[in-house]
């Protein structure tokens, strides 16, 4: 199903969509406030972007350096070309250590590799320990946001889930009660786990160490109790030197949630005596993305989620509508590189307003890359699908006057670059659920001509 179709489903519950929209916009505002308090914020973004560019241009050397230093510290390093190899490596480590129960903290990479179902099929219990991830795991759903995995769930839905799976009493969705019940439930899991799997926010070539950031403390609870720690990272997580963490940690949480830093920024350099630490370095299409000049910088991404929070389409279509591990603007430029046909509607799920690029802490030109993907897709994927996607998406956006106000830069851009047949097609078909703003409806043609000249 195309993104537009999926978005339509999400839009069936209008109250929920409005809440989703506003909740994310609130997070976006917090990000703005946090950014404005930092002297030299733009300099930080420039630095981060330049450091990442340097990383990509020396990635093989940095990876080798990282491996060497990690090994010196007693960390075992593994390499996986694709998701399958990654899953197998992780499973083998677990087998060798006779592991039956695993606790896992947030890692989009393991989502991408579908590690959980793989391990479960081999009889291993995998518990996601980030509260939001645990919620979606219980609901048998993928996360809908990379930082706020359960942002699409209402508290009443969480209440019902916890009653069913954790045996809680009805609480009308009291967040404090539910969080506390989850704490007890997860504590038990932490105490019984044989191995902990974590993601990696940053891997430092100079030291061979990794940094993992959480707010809940779940990564640390898992790692420090279990006898085996497996950290999974994409090849692009490397940064050259430890002092560069100063740049990235200043940007990450502020961009993500408006916090000045995550509660826990844990620096793992050496396993405790008698315990094992493994790092799995995964390619899974990244080296290929590196070859695409126009899309290469998508590998700068530090997964803060800011581009999602700010995106008018994401906020009103929900993360699941993207049908991709990484939803939202960044996902829409990463996913077509993995499977062009499957994800061909994603680059059209955008107004090209450029807000994503404006907030991105590592300055990825996301909206320009979306536009570039469109060019490739119109050439390579059957046309009607593409056009329909554009129309549907435009329909959803234009039908909402508040969103329409956003268009500014974007409408110009969109109109400039859309095929004429689409711009001139009956506007009425665009406004499916709601009426279009009157003025635009009447004067669209004139307006368009004026804008064009």
């Amino acid at each position: 199903m195309s993104h537009a179709k999926e978005a339509e489903l999400f839009n069936k519950d209008e109250a929920k969509v409005n809440w989703h929209d506003q909740a994310l916009w609130f997070v976006r505002n917090k990000r703005d406030k946090a950014a404005h308090t930092v002297k030299g914020w733009e300099d930080l973004r420039n630095l981060a972007s330049a450091i990442k560019a340097n990383v990509l241009s020396n990635l093989d050397d940095y990876l080798v350096q990282f491996e060497e230093n990690a090994q010196k510290n007693g960390i075992q390093v593994h390499w996986a070309g694709d998701a399958e190899a990654h899953n197998k490596i992780v499973h083998d480590i677990l087998l060798q250590n006779n592991v039956k129960k695993v606790v896992k903290s947030k890692s989009m990479l393991t989502e991408e590799c579908h590690l959980n179902p793989y391990l479960e099929a081999h009889g291993i219990e995998v518990i996601d320990t980030d509260l939001g991830e645990r919620i979606v795991q219980l609901a048998k759903e993928p996360p809908s946001h990379i930082v706020l995995p359960a942002i699409h769930k209402t508290k009443e839905e969480v209440d019902a889930l916890f009653q069913k799976h954790l045996g809680t009493v009805p609480s009308h969705g009291d967040p404090r009660y539910l969080t506390n019940e989850a704490r007890k439930h997860l504590r038990d899991k932490f105490l019984k786990a044989d191995a902990a799997i974590t993601g990696v926010n940053f891997a430092v070539a100079e030291t061979g160490g990794i940094v993992v950031c959480t707010n809940e403390g779940n990564a640390d609870m898992g790692v420090h109790l279990a006898k085996v720690h497996i950290a999974c990272m994409g090849i692009e997580k490397i940064i050259p030197e430890e002092k560069h963490l100063g740049v990235f940690l200043r940007l990450l949480a502020r961009s993500a949630t408006g916090q000045p830093i995550t509660t826990y920024s844990s620096h793992f350099n050496k396993p405790v005596q008698g315990k094992e630490m493994h790092i799995v370095i995964v390619d899974n299409g990244r080296s290929e993305q590196l070859s695409r000049e126009a899309f290469r910088s998508s590998l700068h991404c530090i997964r803060c989620g800011a581009c999602m929070n700010t995106c008018p389409i994401y906020r009103r279509s929900g993360g699941h509508s993207y049908k991709a591990t990484i939803p939202g603007p960044i996902g829409s430029i990463l996913s077509p590189g993995m499977d062009l046909k499957k994800h061909s509607s994603l680059p059209f799920a955008s107004t090209l307003c450029g807000s994503c690029s404006d907030v991105c802490p590592v300055k990825i030109n996301i909206h320009e890359q979306l536009y570039q993907w469109r060019q490739i897709i119109t050439k390579n994927v059957k046309q009607p699908v593409v056009k329909r996607s554009i129309l549907k998406m435009a329909g959803i956006v234009l039908a909402n006057s508040k969103l329409y106000g956003f268009l500014g830069r974007s409408s110009r851009f969109m109109l400039k670059h859309l095929p004429k047949s689409i711009v001139n097609s009956k506007i009425n078909t665009w406004g499916k659920a709601r009426d279009l703003p009157k003025v635009e409806n009447d004067n669209f043609e004139d307006w368009y001509k004026k804008r064009k000249s």
Partner: protein, 193 residues
């Protein structure tokens, strides 16, 4: 695809070398009251601050704040409140029902209210996460401006495990309502002298 083929693919596909930028610290310098900003930021992330007139008041003040704490681990020489002693042989699971952990912080970071602690400061890695409540002891003179200075301060450390800790554990995963006390410590108080 093995290690070699991943590295080869990267070698083949990577762009021409781009220089590594220098971090110009003057861009981020500010003349501000470090203690004051640290206070404000720590409060904003849900932490509490107790300003001590003298370090001798420490234990009395801790008792006042945590009157019900029974199982207490102290890794600080300045506090005598420990009821349980730990060593690097201690099995982390045995710390499951620790009420309070008392740890010396190496330094604080004004811009985000974080403190840096590393394995040597708390002996068993699980301690600051598994303890129900956390007390950190920090000297007013050990607060730096920002993370650039912070990394400078820890650049020569023995690298095992260390953490920047900014407030108690928290989550907003249920409808964006902030709840303090997720999987880690339920409260965090910095005693400053």
């Amino acid at each position: 695809m093995s290690r070699a083929s991943i590295l080869n693919a990267i070698k083949k596909n990577k762009p021409e070398s781009v220089p590594l930028p220098q971090i110009d610290l003057s861009l981020f310098h500010e003349d501000i009251d470090l203690v004051d900003i640290f206070y404000k930021n720590l409060e904003s992330v849900g932490g509490r601050i107790v300003s001590l007139n003298t370090i001798e008041d420490l234990d009395a003040e801790i008792k006042k704040r945590y009157p019900n704490a029974k199982s207490i681990v102290s890794c600080s020489n300045t506090s005598q409140l420990a009821t349980i002693s730990i060593s690097n042989e201690t099995e982390p699971h045995s710390l499951e029902s620790i009420d309070l952990a008392i740890i010396d912080a190496q330094f604080g970071v004004a811009e985000n209210g974080a403190v840096w602690i590393s394995e040597n400061d708390f002996i068993v890695r699980a301690l600051p996460f598994i303890a129900n409540d956390l007390v950190l002891i920090l000297s007013k003179n050990d607060i730096c401006l920002h993370m650039h200075e912070a990394y400078n301060l820890i650049s020569k450390r023995e690298r095992t495990f260390g953490v920047f800790l900014s407030g108690p554990s928290k989550t907003a995963d249920i409808e964006q309502c902030l709840v303090i006390g997720a999987q880690g410590a339920m409260s965090l108080t910095v005693f400053i002298f």
